[in-house]
């Protein structure tokens, strides 16, 4: 058979027509696309068995329980631990991405001396030299831990000082410390037994305290009800997330919280709505109304609202003596549903606002990054993440999320004493040391956090009070040994003491306080110790308009 020119043209035309309708080119295009979507360098999750471990979050002092999904020795997911008696299965949004924090590009991986690369041995030699030349001041941001005990003991042994940078939640309890003589670290809010909460701009539903405590309480007793069991009154100059969910939002002028507290106090006393519990403010009701932008009648109505359903508890976002004095007047200090004293006496810590003369300052990684000591001393700063420009002399990489064994003392706002342990679940991604390990390298007589945790568990066991709470509640008196107690805590259980309401608290207020300058509104992540956020927080801050800022413009 001959293949003629005509055949060639017919074949060519047929091929061209066929090419248009054939799926082959499209298939090739599709396959090429798929192939390029699966480049070998695109990361793939490891196909390894998964196991779940329990721990606690140590990124802020609230110590929420964690259920950590582990694969090949790494944390691959974090969720709330539903059996955790403090956080009740809840976490803050940042906590859900915390397992990625250790690989943050800003992770500190090497020792730096005044911006240049250095080594642990050089840092240790410099610290030993400083120690031999003068006193050392140790600054801690999360007191009460075993590591804090080690640091405090070291400072005292050196004739140095131990200072604490306190969070806003602890600072809010400072006025009561002054009036009762009980350290703020031993005080808390009995939220579970209160029926009216007057919040002065406190982000109760947006990062205040243990996320699972108030949010769950509000969800169970207040959400979506016109006459809730728990009345949340939010006094705020802007429409916050908490205001949007409050039973009532009272809009006042910015910075007039103290004036409103004084005005309410005047009404309560002058109209005999409360038994007189102390002095009344000098500010007149008319002046309070003028400052807050409310009417005199509105303040009077609000005062009656406070006593309609008691106990009533006023909560300030930071140190505000007028709001604290309002609680005294309402009889909400040392009573059920108010400010309560926890069962165990804690220490009153000196603040790091004023730092005594020292040869060197050692800053623990729990201290917020933006804390800058007002001193000429040589500064040794521990941090797991680099938060930006800093004037410290030594920048020392500390363990990151779940990279070290630590204990979890009672949360700052808690009404019941608790104790937990956060075991180290993942290996550090670089050579890191905690401040406690560092001082032990310089002073061989220093204890270690492991030993202190062990001792604390033995003490808890010896006292035989409280119970171990996980799925079940087991009284400590029923445990066979201190070792069993420690094992339970290592596996996510929490030791809880008896409720605090039985502990007496005497509060004396001689004159109505005058407020100093009030701190500006804090960010909702202000209690978050890390200077960086998990990458997945971009879902909140960049990939949605959900969180532009805490205090949005007024509606």
């Amino acid at each position: 058979m001959r293949f003629s020119r005509r055949d060639l043209l017919v074949w060519g035309a047929g091929a061209a027509a066929g090419l248009v309708v054939t799926p082959v080119p499209w298939k090739i295009l599709d396959d090429t696309s798929k192939w390029s979507q699966n480049w070998p360098w695109i990361p793939q999750p490891a196909r390894v068995p998964v196991e779940f471990k329990q721990s606690a979050c140590t990124l802020c002092p609230n110590g929420c329980g964690l259920r950590v999904r582990m694969a090949a020795g790494w944390a691959v997911g974090v969720a709330g631990l539903s059996t955790h008696s403090v956080s009740r299965g809840a976490l803050c949004p940042l906590g859900f991405g915390a397992h990625q924090l250790n690989w943050q590009p800003q992770r500190l991986r090497a020792v730096r001396h005044r911006g240049s690369a250095s080594s642990w041995s050089e840092a240790q030699a410099a610290f030993a030299k400083a120690r031999s030349e003068g006193p050392i001041v140790v600054i801690d941001g999360y007191p009460g831990r075993a590591a804090s005990f080690v640091l405090q003991s070291f400072a005292e042994k050196q004739s140095g000082n131990y200072r604490v940078v306190q969070g806003a939640e602890t600072r809010a309890l400072k006025p009561y410390e002054e009036w009762t003589g009980i350290p703020a670290a031993s005080l808390g809010y009995d939220l579970e037994n209160t029926t009216t909460i007057l919040s002065f701009g406190t982000p109760l539903l947006d990062g205040w305290g243990v996320p699972g405590r108030f949010t769950r309480l509000w969800s169970e007793r207040a959400a979506g009800t016109s006459d809730p069991q728990l009345r949340l009154i939010q006094v705020e100059s802007s429409f916050s997330r908490t205001a949007s969910k409050a039973w009532q939002w009272i809009h006042i002028r910015e910075g007039s919280d103290s004036a409103l507290a004084s005005g309410l106090a005047r009404v309560l006393v002058e109209q005999n709505l409360v038994p007189a519990h102390g002095p009344i403010p000098a500010m007149s009701l008319a002046e309070a109304a003028s400052q807050t932008g409310l009417t005199v009648q509105a303040i009077a109505d609000m005062a009656r609202m406070l006593i309609a359903k008691t106990p009533t508890l006023a909560i300030a976002p930071d140190n505000n003596p007028s709001i604290a004095a309002l609680n005294v007047l309402l009889g909400s200090v040392g009573t059920r549903g108010g400010i309560v004293r926890r069962t165990q006496s804690q220490q009153a810590y000196a603040s790091a606002d004023e730092i005594p003369n020292a040869r060197a300052i050692l800053i623990d990684s729990s201290v917020p990054w933006d804390f800058a000591p007002q001193s000429d001393a040589e500064v040794f700063r521990f941090a797991a993440w680099d938060g930006g420009p800093t004037k410290v002399d030594w920048l020392l990489p500390a363990p990151g999320f779940l990279e070290e064994l630590t204990d979890v003392p009672t949360a700052p706002t808690a009404s019941v004493e608790t104790y937990g342990i956060a075991p180290s679940l993942v290996k550090p991604v670089s050579e890191v040391q905690s401040a406690a390990q560092f001082v032990a390298g310089v002073d061989s007589s220093s204890s270690s956090p492991e030993k202190v945790i062990h001792t604390r568990c033995e003490e808890l066991y010896r006292k035989r009070s409280g119970a171990i709470v996980s799925k079940d509640r087991t009284p400590v008196s029923q445990l066979a040994s201190a070792q069993k107690l420690e094992e339970a805590l290592q596996n996510g259980a929490v030791w809880m003491d008896e409720p605090a309401s039985s502990v007496k608290l005497r509060c004396e207020l001689k004159e109505w306080p005058t407020n100093g300058p009030q701190p500006g509104p804090g960010n909702w992540t202000s209690e978050w110790a890390a200077p960086v956020l998990p990458p997945l927080a971009s879902k909140l801050y960049i990939e949605s308009d959900l969180r532009e800022s805490l205090h949005r413009g007024n509606a």
Partner: protein, 250 residues
């Protein structure tokens, strides 16, 4: 295994707009946090939107709507338009499944979805060095050039089925299958269950007078219900008639 109809009821009165569900979802499904992603181009299978009643001063109120795939049951719009048969309603679970291997990225489904609950994946997934160790082994990474959406954490359903099979059971224990957003919600606002089971609390809740579905008039029978005691929030179900304004656009 008997056919299920998995669905949700979200109590909007309990949603504080914290965003935990969004972060937990992204973590569970290996969604990368890409610096170039924005509110319009990011991959956010559950996106919390803020709405207000449009009033001023003390009468102003806001609510938060977590928006995700509604898993429409009837005339599912995305299924109808997909030229690749990359979307289908799983008869065993009622979950609207998206198969990225079939998807050619035409985005017809995004246009068809009345809820704007679908996202096109513009970029190859990437993480800072070492962070790939933190990926969930049970879920693949998100493929570039395809459309993505909520699949009710299907990998968790698989795990629950494997667990049931290992125990010699045909039915899963419902407690073993809980999507990440449900688990994460700190106020317990998101309730998940089997709408085919008349005794399931979620089924009962979905029939409450306070429950509603977005754009119900389209007749697509979404399996995601919302619930609120506030009339103005319920009015958001049909935006053309709602006297409110939407504060956010994803």
């Amino acid at each position: 295994m008997s056919a299920a109809r998995y669905g949700m009821v979200i109590d909007l009165d309990r949603c504080t707009g914290c965003g935990s569900c969004m972060v937990a979802c992204a973590s569970e499904n290996n969604v990368p946090a890409l610096p170039q992603a924005t509110a319009r181009t990011g991959l956010t299978p559950i996106l919390v939107r803020e709405v207000s009643n449009g009033k001023q001063g003390a009468d102003h109120r806001e609510a938060f709507f977590p928006i995700m795939c509604m898993h429409c049951e009837h005339d599912t719009p995305c299924v109808k338009v997909c030229p690749q048969q990359a979307v289908e309603v799983d008869k065993a679970t009622g979950i609207v499944m998206q198969m990225p291997q079939r998807c050619l990225g035409c985005r017809y489904c995004m246009t068809a979805c009345p809820y704007h609950a679908r996202y096109y994946n513009w970029w190859d997934p990437s993480w800072p060095k070492g962070m790939e160790k933190s990926l969930n082994p049970g879920v693949a990474v998100r493929m570039r050039g395809v459309v993505e959406k909520c699949n009710l954490c299907h990998a968790r359903l698989h795990s629950a089925m494997e667990k049931a099979a290992a125990a010699g059971k045909r039915e899963i224990d419902q407690a073993d299958y809980v999507p990440a957003c449900v688990e994460a919600c700190p106020t317990g606002a998101i309730h998940f269950g089997n709408l085919a089971d008349a005794n399931d609390p979620v089924t009962k809740e979905s029939r409450s007078p306070e429950s509603f579905r977005l754009l119900a008039k389209l007749g697509t029978e979404p399996k995601l219900y919302y619930k609120s005691k506030e009339a103005w929030v319920r009015a958001m179900a049909e935006p053309n008639t709602a006297p409110t304004s939407e504060a956010q656009h994803g």
